[in-house]
């Protein structure tokens, strides 16, 4: 039984103009991700991995080509629609954790739900549940600067799950962590994938990390290659 395709990139180009110079971050990248898949993307620095992730995550639109998310072409959508998709269908995990320093762990997890207009009680319940999932319930009132890198990344994982997204996009989630902590964070992602069947796309430099995914794709100079 062939599973439904959840992400589809078809000959996607992304060109940045720096004055008169044009930088082609993506040159005709094509990729298909099936629902429930755990995909790792590897590639040298500057090969366009983050650019691709941002585009899948509706943070940016391609210069050329088509991106389909859940069967819907996103390359022509309006700002507020893109924001809606980011909020409801996508969960981001960044290398730099990207938590809001003024908010506590719990509040950080609640914030995406706030943007979706979810009532307070429900937000509190869900965020505490997610804190339990990443085993940080005892740290829920701590601010990011009172947490270790690994703990911060687990809060970020919990946050990415708050609106029960269809896809988790993790751009080098272990990049700022030592290997043991990185393994721990990865375990949570694997657990998520296994237990909830969430689709995960993860960018990494680390071959050992990548090998734990179901499939690895290689990106070089803005397009998918067989191997590096």
């Amino acid at each position: 039984m062939t599973k439904e395709i959840i992400i589809e990139l078809d000959n996607v180009w992304k060109t940045y103009k720096m004055g008169t110079v044009e930088v082609h971050a993506l040159r005709g990248m094509s990729l298909k991700v099936k629902k429930g898949e755990f995909l790792a993307i590897m590639g040298p620095s500057g090969s366009g991995k983050s650019t691709a992730m941002n585009m899948i995550g509706c943070l940016d639109i391609p210069t050329k080509g088509e991106i389909k998310l859940l069967g819907r072409d996103i390359s022509t959508l309006h700002e507020s629609d893109l924001a809606q998709i980011r909020g409801k269908k996508i969960g981001f995990i960044f290398q730099k954790f990207n938590l809001l320093n003024t908010l506590t762990a719990k509040e950080n997890i609640m914030l995406p739900m706030t943007f979706q207009g979810i009532p307070r009680e429900e937000r509190e319940k869900k965020s505490e549940e997610l804190l339990g999932l990443v085993e940080l319930k005892d740290r829920m009132d701590h601010r990011p600067n009172e947490l270790s890198g690994g703990q911060q990344q687990r809060v970020a994982i919990a946050r990415s799950l708050s609106n029960s997204p269809d896809v988790i996009l993790a751009d080098e989630p272990t990049g700022n962590l030592d290997s043991t902590t990185g393994e721990r964070v990865l375990d949570f992602l694997k657990k998520l994938h296994k237990e909830k069947g969430t689709t995960i796309v993860m960018v990494t430099h680390d071959k050992k990390i990548a090998e734990q995914a179901e499939r690895i794709e290689f990106l070089k100079d803005g397009s998918i290659v067989k191997n590096l």
């Binding site: 940016d60 507020s80 924001a83 990207n98 809001l100 914030l111 995406p112 943007f115």
Partner: protein
């Protein structure tokens, strides 16, 4: 949801550095000035009209000399008013009524104690009495007014009766005025102006007979309602010039009309108000620019946060709302501090005025609409001042914002 945005905004405000607060001094000053001004302004207006309103717009006061003199000042200036002047004033067409009280300093003896006080003597007919009462110069609290034709009756100013001598003087007591025995028949009500609380009052006839005084210290006149006060004023001037045999511009008397005094005071008040409002307006503009400035800084400092919020689903309108609320709250806090300062200034002026004038006619009022209006105004001001930075924040490209270091 707006409630949650308020929470985020308040968090951000508490995380601000001191320096960003300093740029808001303009708001403090502006709002403080407005609150103090408005709270005192109505009090001041009231004080002026209550002081001068008693005299009434159709009342004329003539004093000797070229300078302004009160009803109790002695004839230090070059001019003297004569009792014949009162007659002359009465004869002017349009003058309904005129009276010329006599004023003097006298020795007052009570219970073997001697004090020197001002004496005022005016006609004891009911018309004069009513006129003086209307001016607030002859209201009796205890006892009664001097009977028409009575010779040795005296009425005491409130402070003379209560404070001047070791023992308070009461109605029915006897006192000596320049060694003549008088019977105290009444004690005046405490007046708005302490000057009239230290005066004793006898009938004009008695003053003329006993103290051989006849020249009035002032002449008070009332214009008939059917005549234009300023026209009558002109005729009066002419009549008195003739009486005193002086040319125009060389008058040894001053004629004042209450309407003029009220007007000039109101003009001064308006000038002060315009001045304070201008200062307030400038301060508020400076404060608003300060808010705009710190909000631009905040947007720059929080570029990364804006990117994060967008990545987790914030729409442009959400970011706009958050930043507008934050700048509105900044304005609100500025306004709140300004209100505290303004109320402080208002109260301080009230206390100082009370001490200086020995009366509490100048009251600072803080009506709820002033406080609420100031708060609302400062919030809106902050929000407006933050509009441009908030727009900039909301339009930020999420990727650029996330990459910003």
């Amino acid at each position: 949801m707006i409630k949650d945005y308020f929470k985020v905004a308040i968090k951000n405000i508490f995380n601000r550095k001191l320096r960003s607060w300093l740029t808001m001094i303009g708001i403090f000053i502006g709002i403080a000035a407005v609150v103090a001004l408005i709270s005192l302004g109505s009090g001041m207006q009231k004080a002026i009209t209550s002081q001068f309103g008693k005299i009434g717009a159709n009342r004329i006061s003539i004093s000797p000399g070229g300078a302004i003199a009160g009803p109790l000042s002695e004839n230090l200036g070059s001019g003297i008013l004569y009792s014949s002047d009162v007659e002359a004033v009465r004869n002017v067409k349009g003058v309904e009524f005129a009276t010329g009280p006599i004023a003097a300093y006298v020795e007052l003896e009570f219970n073997k104690e001697i004090e020197y006080v001002a004496l005022m003597a005016f006609d004891d007919d009911t018309k004069t009495l009513r006129y003086m009462e209307e001016m607030g110069l002859a209201e009796v609290e205890y006892g009664r007014q001097i009977k028409t034709g009575a010779t040795r009756e005296v009425i005491l100013g409130n402070r003379i009766a209560n404070d001047l001598f070791d023992k308070p003087i009461q109605v029915g007591n006897s006192i000596y005025v320049d060694n003549y025995k008088f019977n105290v028949v009444g004690i005046q009500k405490k007046s708005d102006s302490s000057m009239f609380d230290t005066v004793i009052r006898i009938s004009k006839k008695t003053a003329e007979d006993l103290f051989e005084r006849e020249n009035p210290s002032n002449i008070f006149a009332k214009v008939d309602d059917n005549y234009e006060p300023t026209e009558v004023l002109g005729k009066l001037e002419k009549a008195l010039r003739k009486e005193h045999n002086v040319d125009e511009g060389e008058e040894d008397f001053t004629i004042e009309i209450a309407a003029d005094v009220i007007e000039s005071f109101t003009r001064i008040l308006t000038t002060v108000q315009i001045l304070v409002i201008s200062i307030a307006a400038i301060s508020i503009v400076v404060g608003a620019v300060g808010i705009t400035n710190t909000m631009y800084t905040a947007v720059l400092e929080r570029t990364g946060e804006i990117g994060i919020m967008k990545a987790i689903g914030a729409r442009n309108s959400d970011i706009l709302t958050i930043f507008l609320i934050e700048s509105g709250m900044l304005g609100l806090v500025g306004g709140l501090i300004g209100i505290f300062i303004g109320v402080g200034i208002g109260k301080a002026v009230e206390v100082i005025a009370k001490a200086a004038m020995n009366s509490n006619i100048l009251q600072a009022h803080f009506p709820w609409y002033l406080i609420l209006g100031s708060l609302l105004f400062s919030f809106l001001l902050g929000a407006i001042a933050g509009t441009m930075p908030a727009k900039q924040a909301s339009k930020m490209n999420p990727i650029d914002a996330l990459r910003y270091e």
